[in-house]
Point group: C3
Chain length 510, copies 3
Amino acid sequence: MQKAFVDVLKERYGSPHKLNELWGLTYWGQLVDNWDEFPARDGILNPGYKLEWDRFQRSIVTDFLAWQAKLLREYIPSTQFITHDFAGVNTKVDQWAIGRNLDIAATNIYFTAQDKLDGMEIALGGDLFRSVKNAPYLVTETNAQTIGWDSRAQYPPYDGQFRLIAFAHAASGASLVEYWHWHSLHYGQETYWRGVLGQDLEQNRAYREVATIGADLKRIGPDIANLKKDVKVAILFSTDSNDAISYMPFSDHVNYMSLLRQMYGAAYAAKVEVDFVTPATEDLSRYKVLLVPPLYSASDAVLQRISKFVENGGHAIVAFKSGFTNEYSTVRWVRSPGPLREAAGFSYQEFSNLAYAVPLKPDRYGLGAKSQASTWAEFLVPERAETLLSYDHPFFGKYPALTRNRFGKGTLTYEGTVLTPELQQAVVREVLQLAGLSGPDQQLPLAVQVRHGVNRAGHGVHFYLNYSPAAQTLVYPYVAGSERLKEQPVSQGAKLVLEPWGVAIVEELR
Amino acid sequence: MQKAFVDVLKERYGSPHKLNELWGLTYWGQLVDNWDEFPARDGILNPGYKLEWDRFQRSIVTDFLAWQAKLLREYIPSTQFITHDFAGVNTKVDQWAIGRNLDIAATNIYFTAQDKLDGMEIALGGDLFRSVKNAPYLVTETNAQTIGWDSRAQYPPYDGQFRLIAFAHAASGASLVEYWHWHSLHYGQETYWRGVLGQDLEQNRAYREVATIGADLKRIGPDIANLKKDVKVAILFSTDSNDAISYMPFSDHVNYMSLLRQMYGAAYAAKVEVDFVTPATEDLSRYKVLLVPPLYSASDAVLQRISKFVENGGHAIVAFKSGFTNEYSTVRWVRSPGPLREAAGFSYQEFSNLAYAVPLKPDRYGLGAKSQASTWAEFLVPERAETLLSYDHPFFGKYPALTRNRFGKGTLTYEGTVLTPELQQAVVREVLQLAGLSGPDQQLPLAVQVRHGVNRAGHGVHFYLNYSPAAQTLVYPYVAGSERLKEQPVSQGAKLVLEPWGVAIVEELR
Amino acid sequence: MQKAFVDVLKERYGSPHKLNELWGLTYWGQLVDNWDEFPARDGILNPGYKLEWDRFQRSIVTDFLAWQAKLLREYIPSTQFITHDFAGVNTKVDQWAIGRNLDIAATNIYFTAQDKLDGMEIALGGDLFRSVKNAPYLVTETNAQTIGWDSRAQYPPYDGQFRLIAFAHAASGASLVEYWHWHSLHYGQETYWRGVLGQDLEQNRAYREVATIGADLKRIGPDIANLKKDVKVAILFSTDSNDAISYMPFSDHVNYMSLLRQMYGAAYAAKVEVDFVTPATEDLSRYKVLLVPPLYSASDAVLQRISKFVENGGHAIVAFKSGFTNEYSTVRWVRSPGPLREAAGFSYQEFSNLAYAVPLKPDRYGLGAKSQASTWAEFLVPERAETLLSYDHPFFGKYPALTRNRFGKGTLTYEGTVLTPELQQAVVREVLQLAGLSGPDQQLPLAVQVRHGVNRAGHGVHFYLNYSPAAQTLVYPYVAGSERLKEQPVSQGAKLVLEPWGVAIVEELR
């Protein structure tokens, strides 16, 4: 394996001297004169080396699966397809590269049911794996009764939640929902990863509710599956940035993925569907809003692409640390944020951790004490950007915490610090409005989520999902249609009542 | 050793195919076709394998000690006896099996003195090791000045506590109290495991108080030792259940032993002496009340024995998870609680962890906020059982938390959840009353414990132990006798005053 | 290495039987009959062995550096000097022994800037390394912008703090302040150990402030460096006691070094400069006050030297556990505190951890709830000592917590427990007064520190350092002179105003 890594490096960089130059391997006496001396992984402190190693790890998985797929293609008939179960969201594989070898993407989506069920993991997992091939995907595993390799976190869904979960998967674009597993094991490590049936193999509460889902899908499945979606918001998923930050973490509590989830969650709270894009995604022109979690490691080209997106009329929200290091995890030789400087409208030379939460001023979003910064503060020096929020602090007060810069036909909103979730939501809502993406979906009750698509008949399909134990009422704003679970007509402007943990699916009929 | 384990399995199960069937070894690709392929311990996830391995570990210790005892018996004169220092309560050895090779059981009883001294560890350790041979036992080590392999928890007993401790051992049935050790070491790891004397080898506070104990024992020792006891309450100690739960824990805080201690502690708070019995104890007919901590792994025969105990007029308190798996740690193929279903009067198919404490209703025991469930909730469906307490919760509310079923001449009280200590005490007190075991002992001041026995003269002996820094007064309710520490007569109905951390021992004289 | 350790032991102890006698190696079956059987380090529980091993570790470092220095001396011209960068305060090397091979001591002093900057680490590190050769020292590394191997604790100094830090080093006696490092690295593990310049290599806030320091030093450096100091308070630094306590810790939170820092910090709060002395320091006669953190392991000779210091008119403050073990980490065969008994005026046989904080009485220092004991309580029995504070507790109340004994011409104040920082400060202030060491420095505003010296011109030099974000005013009490940073005359009794985080340096002119 180590040999192969060296071979990859030879091919990519030509000579060890190039690595010395890019990564500074000479630090800690690791000067490399020829490839035979190239150091093994253990104990290497160099962030450049670590990043290339992690990329190499990902490439091994991609290559292996590509080879497997190639073997299969020699034998399978055209009625069969190739998929791979990605087993959830993670940063250790390159889903897009692997996806190019598959016919359909598949994943497992697990979460905590009962009171904590808010659909966020279902939406996030669904949006990510739909984005991998920009197409419907399979949910090859999801919660049946309970999950866990012990009995510490057994949370069987409440009544109604089984249905809510299944149709939430469909709403994100899943064309299969498969439980792990049919009946619970009597022995072995997954005794408590319980299936639809328990160990007694008798009918039970889960079975009875799942049976109603099956009956519904038999009736309306083809009308609500394989939906086409027209998503206007994208989030940039950079495994390199996740990895490079992990070598130099800025917090014990906050990290790349928690900030990606915070940004995604703000869009989710705003009832907006999101596509996932990667630094390799060249064409961003179909999106109006781009969310950028800390893009700590990125090439000039990727940063220029974001600038161009803004210049052409896009609206970007960019988190702190973006642009700080290049694609070798090496700090740039110029002021931060490097190639983003012009689009961002500021530069900075310094930054600080925040030893305590610092209030922000003015109270632009009416959040009171929740308008707060924490963890990190870049000492932004505006060059053309507008200051939206500043630190209420004797020293940090001279630096903006949140800026916005008009650049070309779009805007770049920059977060120089860690926002509270409430503040992140306010910023995302504001930018959605700037981008003209606000509408009736944003007026829905807090607990109600909505997802849209167009079915094979060309009809709009609207999923309303009630993530609460209380009934919810909403005004249906779209073209008149039929609520397909109860098969009842719904006119535009009609009241739609969702039961506790309930679902409604309206298919437009024009 | 591994070889020997395979040999034990060969003998017990005949063929590896039997193990595949019982434990599901095929899971994780561990199909075993012949004994040579039998997997080694490391990394095996299978709970059935783990349980058999832990039993095997215990058997090694038993066999070794039996062999040692056999060697000794060839040489020792009849005036000598064989004992073994069990070094405290633990689940790693089979005390009863080892005990059959000994003349007398012995143990070390250590605890925290000063304000936390409540006698519970002394009583629990004493009751367990008295039960091993159903006979008096030796305390081969107990706290002198302080204990510890460092100086982080040095808590020398307060004035009076040395006496209280010594007579508390005697009250449980100890016929020896030996300190570890005489004088404190000057060097080595146990410098701070301090003896009666300190390192200065001079007389000190501990020495002076221990000297009074010696004088008392010289005078009255034979009258208060080797007591016969008639205990009516038993607690079932299942190391298999402890082990099997530990492979699939239901909590980070609560486990088999903490629940056993909670049940034992409830009986202790009710001033009731308890015998320990094991799943191998065939005759339970001498007991009126049986406490059953989570009997997670048990054969049909053991569960039927508990049912029979109830049917014959016994009163059992059984904790959740009892009966869930069989003696192979394999979940039963029938509804829980399996063979206990008829005696318990309910069945269940589902269960949940509780993410937060849930109040119970109605307030049957007048405990207010302390009438609370936590950690675990089985979805009990009563078939004949009476519901005593239910969850005050929108979803869990439809299932009982505490049930009682009349079965034959007795009752089975079942706890489907983790109770607060206060609630456990209320349940135990109620069942003691049902069983006709309430009397004057239950009227004693909170801090006063009492233990009873009959001495070689056939006289009742009553120990009163004051676990508090305040003097306590009680009414002596038994046959008139003599308080032997002060050698003063005590008539029935007389007031008895205990000094702070004080002791009184009344020997009946009839 | 192990071989060499045995050789050291052979030389020092002659025979293994001597070690058996001193350390009790026989405990745990480690009887050693000849040197070949001498046990290896791993798994040895014996505190005597551990202590000798740690001393041996230190001696290896000393020997190596002595050899290096010897090699250098053969080659360097007389214009050059030999130093060693001690890289901060630690207990793993013998700074004094190494120092004898150096021309100048050098160290790195790192700390947390921003709100937590109080100068204590600068003062402590400076006082220790000045004491190593009783001469000026070099600060070879100190905070520039930020420190850290990740970005979790990036705290660039506030405006003005760069200057405050640099002159604080000078005030303690540093003759060099060197930043680590000039510009920040672009790659490698120390990317976030940022220099004066950032990675953009442009001028920045740090550069501009550091440039003013350079200009000041160019002008007045020779007048404020190489100061002579006349320090009257010493603190005893015993690495043996640190080590021996670490084998038998009395707390998870408090240890030898935390108590040394508490005592040093009390002197620092009293604005008193402190020399560090070691158990090997023979002449203590230049000091009036000696602070003794827990001197857990010490030979009779060292304890007698402290007694003699007191007898001759010195004032010692001695912490609990002092004298408990001898130089072999073996508990003495006599009552504690062994050879200190006469000077201390009490003895004790027992001690206890404190499970909770215990108030002290009477409120001698007007500290209210901050007059509190914790962690440890020795059962002191006064023989001639005066009781200053006792425990407000039903059991511990009979023992003093703080005693003072007049012995010869001096006093020994003994702390039998862990004091709060506020109480420690009160005790130190009281003893400073007893020793006649109170004066105008003790009247300074809370946030202002002062340090003194005499320069090569024979002029007194007084540094005033404002560790606060507020301006501070003080009355200058010494001989009239010139404030050298602003080059303004200062008369005796004049008001001196320090800016936020500001500095004033007055050179007396007579």
